[in-house]
């Protein structure tokens, strides 16, 4: 996969509807990348499935990046295997439901948002799965005032995002599917197989318009989730999103996302120090794998997930620190606090793993003494007050 140079044409905090007032903290994908989507739609001559804004080819290009014939640079949104993205897009093209499975922080939600934005131009039809999500959130609810006043009527019905997606022929997203109760999950079965949503109270139903599809994300690492029933599972095509394959790919992801987020947080437009990013990514990869990158030393693995997403937040956190409290340049001490917070999730076991790593690996690594000192200082600070 070839990567396009970091794009500069899509800054777009001002692309949102509220451009006059303060910029949006986080515009939707279709807002942030409206320019790219429009350019793709204009250049796209390939056949489009019903209700699709772009052809499958253009969706893949949007996600993986590239340069259009007219010279428009499309920035890569997902850095990883082309195969996975193609399978995902092809799944949606067959009106089948797509399940994105993976460890936390492997860009499941990110990919689903961008898929929805590229295919339907609307990534906002989201059901967030939690233990408290009720069936109403998946099917429909009622406006009880009207229900009592007028009795059941289509006007009293409050459609769920899924129902709205069905009527519009667009993509509905279900986040963290396995966090919902099993019976709530199963409410999706009829929707996915019959492509209808019966409304028995009105003796009617909503039939999905062509173009409707569901993208669900689920976490395969969390404990305490509700296993999907096999009936539901087999209605999904499953794509497992892996952790970034190489250190370079992960550095690229972190740098790119940090730049985007920095812009959103109105941080100065200075790129984060590449060496610092690489260092954080290396630490994360080593602790995740339980072995140093040269393969010589085995390490204790902390309980923390240490996903790419967390690496991104460590760097953005460090940049914020550097901007507001330092001279704007990202240094080891800015990163150290975030690093510590990301690694130590379990107060009993993780500090041991971290200290072993610090003393055994970081201390002796050439050019890492600043980071070592910064982490040690933090560690000591943390230990003195709580030392009793």
């Amino acid at each position: 996969m070839t990567l396009a140079p970091p794009s500069t044409n899509t800054a777009a905090p001002d692309a949102g509807p509220t451009a006059d007032s303060a910029p949006l903290l986080r515009p939707h994908a279709e807002q942030a990348y409206a320019g790219e989507l429009a350019a793709l739609a204009a250049a796209d001559t390939r056949p489009r499935p019903p209700s699709w804004r772009l052809s499958p080819w253009a969706v893949v290009t949007y996600l993986l990046g590239g340069v259009l014939d007219d010279g428009t640079v499309i920035s890569p949104k997902y850095i990883g295997s082309r195969r996975l993205v193609e399978v995902a897009v092809a799944t949606l093209a067959t009106d089948r439901a797509l399940l994105l499975l993976g460890s936390p922080g492997t860009a499941k939600t990110w990919l689903s948002e961008h898929l929805a934005a590229a295919v339907s131009g609307d990534s906002t039809l989201v059901v967030q799965g939690t233990a408290g999500t009720s069936e109403d959130a998946v099917r429909y609810g009622w406006n009880y005032a009207r229900l009592i006043a007028e009795g059941p009527s289509p006007d009293a019905l409050v459609p769920s995002p899924v129902m709205r997606a069905m009527t519009r022929g667009s993509i509905a997203r279900v986040e963290e599917l396995t966090r919902m109760g099993a019976e709530v999950q199963d409410a999706l079965i009829t929707v996915l197989s019959e492509k209808t949503l019966p409304v028995p109270e009105l003796a009617s139903e909503v039939q999905a318009v062509a173009g409707f599809a569901v993208i669900a994300t689920a976490n395969d690492r969390d404990r305490g989730v509700n296993e999907m029933s096999s009936a539901l599972r087999r209605r999904f095509n499953t794509v497992v999103l892996p952790l970034p394959a190489s250190e370079d790919a992960e550095v690229e992801i972190v740098t790119r996302r940090v730049a985007d987020l920095g812009r959103a947080l109105a941080l100065p437009d200075e790129p984060p120090a590449a060496s610092e990013v690489r260092r954080v990514v290396q630490i994360f990869r080593e602790l995740r794998a339980g072995v140093t990158s040269d393969g010589r030393t085995t390490l204790k693995t902390p309980t923390a997930t240490l996903s790419t997403a967390e690496a991104i937040s460590v760097i953005t956190g460090g940049m914020t620190l550097a901007t507001h409290f330092g001279d704007g340049r990202l240094r080891a001490e800015d990163v150290a606090a975030g690093l510590l917070g990301a690694v130590i999730k379990d107060p009993s076991a993780d500090p041991v793993a971290w200290r072993e790593y610090l003393e055994g690996v970081v201390r002796d690594r050439k050019g890492w003494s600043d980071l070592y000192r910064a982490c040690r200082d933090l560690d000591d600070d943390a230990r003195v007050p709580g030392g009793a």
Partner: protein, 843 residues
């Protein structure tokens, strides 16, 4: 006269289809195929073969020098052979004869070994060529790759489907069908791939591989010319070869004269070879062999070849059936969705039809729920496939192979390539014969069965893992010179090995194998060989190692109905020799030799135990007894010998204790020897120490009595010894020591108290050794009078004693002994210590 060269992809179903169509259309009266001309005679058997099979050619003088040309059903070459057979058209192979090839390779190997200096240059040349063979081996795959296709087969199909006569303005294309157009196009692209200005010529700077390619092409050109000229020239010749060779055989061949080709091939004296057919497997097809281009997915190609229509749907259905067989959910609804996904994927990737990549991606997402584990099963069983070819019974082979086939049939052991376990019950006649066959084949280097360990030795069960490899056919051909039946051949191999055996142990190892293989005739030969070697072998350690397998046969051989009489005689004579030779062999050994000797003694002891002949065991114990008590013997050997006697119950516990005490004390001057004795004694296990508190206390006292330097000397060997004990033993010993030990008393088990004094410990009482007393600084005090001890010196020792013996409670044990009850029991220990102290200060 016309010559049409069809360039193909070896093992490509697309090529195979095209070749079939082209041959039907051309209706040639001679088909020439890239392959060894030696195989022409084997072509008569094509009808008796079920692919995948391989044509194999081997050198008569060394059958292991062999090559294979595998054919699958979807191989274009195979389709050409079938066409020739069906249409009654003569079919011949035209590649460089294997005999020539082999002769050249042998010559190269010789020159390589002659000129080591030249080798380096050769190597770099080969390294430089590295990317080329890939191109040479699979040029069409390479073209497909260059065109952005990962599946060469689909690229080929696209070529077939999309290239229409009207759209190809090839010169002189008038009237040719699409299929022939296709081959013309292949020839064109190959000509473009091969640099026309770099036509082959004898050039020493090129790699051996390239030179060989030149020779092959020269031979093919000559063969084609020979077929197309002369009185009986064929009118329409179809030549089938790898696409890469096409330009060399057509068009520009004019530039190379017949004379030049003959010149290339001159001076090669071919090796004499023979050919036959062997069954092949899809798994082997996927490895690199024979025709170079190993195919990664023979199962998929087979499917492409056999599926009449709906290639993708059939494939997914087969995957689903496989998953269901493995108890994984695979509903028809999922199959439908998977096929749809594969088609959509093909559309996304802008391909006309879903290929293996799309189908695999779709299966992973749709049927396997993203889990790669079931996909591995699919890959193994479908993508590669477990198809096995067959060779008809009439296909000639060596008599030995035929005998094996007969035996396999008779014993109902089908040769299958899939590994499978086999458990034999040696009490059954059939299983005994099976076992013998497997063992005999192992003697012939045909490791069809690999013995697996059963739960215990000496049972009637024997475990095997069976897996038949097609290369065994070759091993059988190689072994054929030994005899016409498995039994004869194995016997001959044994005789040969006895002759070449370097030492006695090698022959006894062979002896065991012969017994297992139930080779009655060979048994006598082995016995004679053994007898002779044993008589001339002076090395008792060798004899002892040799005894072990014999003893096993002695003990278990009768399960197989072996004539153990032979073994009994031999074992007896070996045992006698060992008993006679052991004591002298134990004298004056250095430490390394002692280690080896102890290992041999252990082996022999086990063997004597197995034979369990009381008379011999008694003699053995007598011999060991001599070794144990030998003056000047190595302490390690002595220790181990004592232990053997102790374990066997020959020595009474008290006697063992006495010897232990003696060994430990005699070493007053050399604690290292004592430690080695102890290492030998305890070497087998620490249980004796853990169980017998008296013995433990002996050792403990000895250890505690050592001074600092002596302790340092002893520490390393003891540490090694104890490290070998099992964890629970060590723990038990530790607990015993902590809970306090009975002090050694001078009661009957002892002699302990008196022994050290008797053996002249320095500073001993009764003025036995005047010298230390005389030079001792404390010598003013007569050693014999207890109360006259130098109390200051005694007090000075106490801290060290406390450290050595542990916390108070055990340390003052000597002190707490009521004075006067048994002064003799405490004094020697203390005086010995004091004496050591004195000796130390003198030094």
């Amino acid at each position: 006269m016309s010559v049409t060269v069809l360039g193909v992809r070896h093992h490509g179903p697309g090529s195979a289809r095209a070749v079939r169509a082209a041959l039907a259309e051309l209706d040639p009266d001679l088909v020439l195929v890239e392959g060894p001309p030696e195989g022409d005679s084997a072509l008569t058997h094509v009808g008796a073969l079920t692919p995948p099979v391989a044509l194999t050619a081997y050198a008569l003088d060394e059958p292991r020098d062999a090559a294979f040309w595998p054919f699958a059903e979807f191989s274009p070459e195979w389709q050409a052979l079938l066409h020739g057979r069906a249409a009654g058209v003569p079919t011949r192979f035209i590649d460089l004869p294997f005999g020539h090839d082999l002769a050249l390779r042998r010559r190269d190997a010789e020159t390589d070994s002659d000129e080591d200096t030249a080798e380096a240059g050769e190597d770099t040349a080969e390294a430089g060529d590295e990317t080329v063979p890939e191109l040479v081996a699979d040029p069409l795959g390479w073209l497909a790759f260059a065109a952005g296709h990962d599946d060469p087969e689909r690229f080929w199909e696209d070529l077939v489907e999309h290239r229409r006569p009207a759209s190809t303005p090839t010169a002189g294309a008038g009237g040719r069908s699409p299929v022939l157009e296709l081959f013309a196009a292949v020839a064109e692209s190959m000509a473009a791939l091969r640099d026309p200005d770099h036509q082959p010529g004898p050039d020493a700077s090129r790699g051996a591989h390239a030179r060989r390619e030149d020779l092959r092409e020269a031979h093919m050109r000559l063969a084609i010319r020979a077929a197309s000229t002369g009185a009986d020239a064929a009118a329409r010749i179809a030549v089938l070869c790898g696409a890469w060779h096409v330009p060399a055989l057509t068009g520009r061949t004019g530039r190379i004269t017949v004379a030049a080709d003959r010149e290339l091939l001159r001076g090669v004296r071919p090796v004499r070879t023979a050919t036959t057919w062997v069954p092949w497997t899809h798994a082997l097809l996927s490895a690199d062999s024979g025709y170079g281009a190993g195919v990664t997915s023979p199962g998929w190609y087979h499917h492409l070849w056999t599926a009449p229509n709906q290639v993708g749907a059939r494939w997914v259905a087969r995957v689903a059936a496989l998953l269901r067989a493995a108890d994984l959910p695979a509903s028809t609804a999922s199959v439908v969705e998977t096929v749809r996904l594969a088609e959509a994927l093909a559309a996304v990737r802008e391909r006309a039809v879903p290929g293996l990549t799309e189908l695999t991606d779709a299966v992973l997402a749709g049927l396997c729920a993203g889990d790669p584990v079931p996909l591995a099963v699919v890959r193994e069983q479908l993508v590669v496939g477990d198809v096995v070819g067959a060779v008809g019974p009439d296909v000639p082979t060596v008599p030995l192979a035929a005998d094996v086939a007969r035996a396999q049939k008779r014993l109902r052991l089908a040769p299958t390539p899939v590994e499978k376990p086999l458990r034999l019950d040696l009490r059954r006649e059939l299983d005994r014969e099976r076992s013998a066959l497997l063992h005999r084949l192992r003697l012939l280097d045909v490791d069809w069965g690999i013995p697996t360990t059963t739960s215990s030795t000496g049972t009637f069960a024997e475990g095997w893992t069976l897996a038949w490899k097609p290369t065994f056919v070759l091993a059988l051909v190689a072994a054929a010179r030994h005899g016409a039946t498995v039994e004869d051949a194995a016997g001959d191999v044994v005789a040969e090995r006895i002759h070449a055996a370097p030492d006695l142990a090698a022959i006894t190892g062979l002896f065991e194998q012969v017994v297992l293989a139930n080779l009655a005739a060979a048994l006598e030969a082995v016995r004679a060989g053994l007898e002779q070697r044993a008589a001339t072998t002076g090395d008792v350690a060798h004899l002892m190692l040799a005894l072990a397998p014999l003893a096993r046969v002695h003990r278990y051989g009768d399960v197989r109905g072996t004539d153990t009489g032979l073994v009994v005689g031999l074992t007896t004579s070996l045992m006698t020799r060992i008993c006679a030779g052991l004591p002298p062999a134990c004298a004056s050994l250095d430490d390394d030799a002692a280690d080896a000797m102890v290992a041999a003694i252990d082996t022999a002891d086990t063997a004597f135990g197995l034979v369990a002949d009381p008379e011999h065991v008694a003699r053995w114990h007598a011999a060991v007894g001599v070794a144990a008590a030998m003056a000047g013997g190595n302490p390690l050997v002595a220790g181990r010998s004592t232990r053997i006697l102790s374990d066997a119950g020959v020595l009474a516990a008290t006697e063992v204790a006495t010897r232990l005490a003696r060994a430990l004390s005699a070493a007053g001057g050399a604690p290292a020897d004592a430690a080695r004795w102890l290492a030998g004694f305890l070497g087998r296990s620490g249980a004796v120490l853990a169980r017998d508190p008296a013995m433990l206390s002996l050792v403990d006292t000895w250890l505690a009595g050592l001074d600092g330097d002596a302790f340092t000397i002893v520490l390393a060997p003891l540490r090694r010894t104890f490290a070998d004990f099992a964890g629970p033993e060590r723990r038990l010993i530790g607990e015993r020591v902590r809970s306090g030990l009975p002090r050694p008393t001078a009661g009957p088990p002892g002699g302990i108290a008196t022994d050290p004094a008797d053996s002249g410990s320095p500073g001993g009482s009764a003025g036995g050794s005047p010298a230390p007393a005389a030079i001792s600084p404390a010598g003013a005090v007569p050693a014999g009078d207890g109360p006259a001890w130098d109390l200051g010196r005694v007090a000075a020792v106490l801290p060290a004693l406390t450290t050595l013996l542990g916390p108070a409670g055990t340390a003052p044990a000597a002190g707490t002994t009521p004075a006067g009850t048994r002064p003799a029991s405490t004094r020697p220990a203390s005086t010995a210590l004091a004496g050591a102290e004195e000796g130390h200060s003198d030094a």
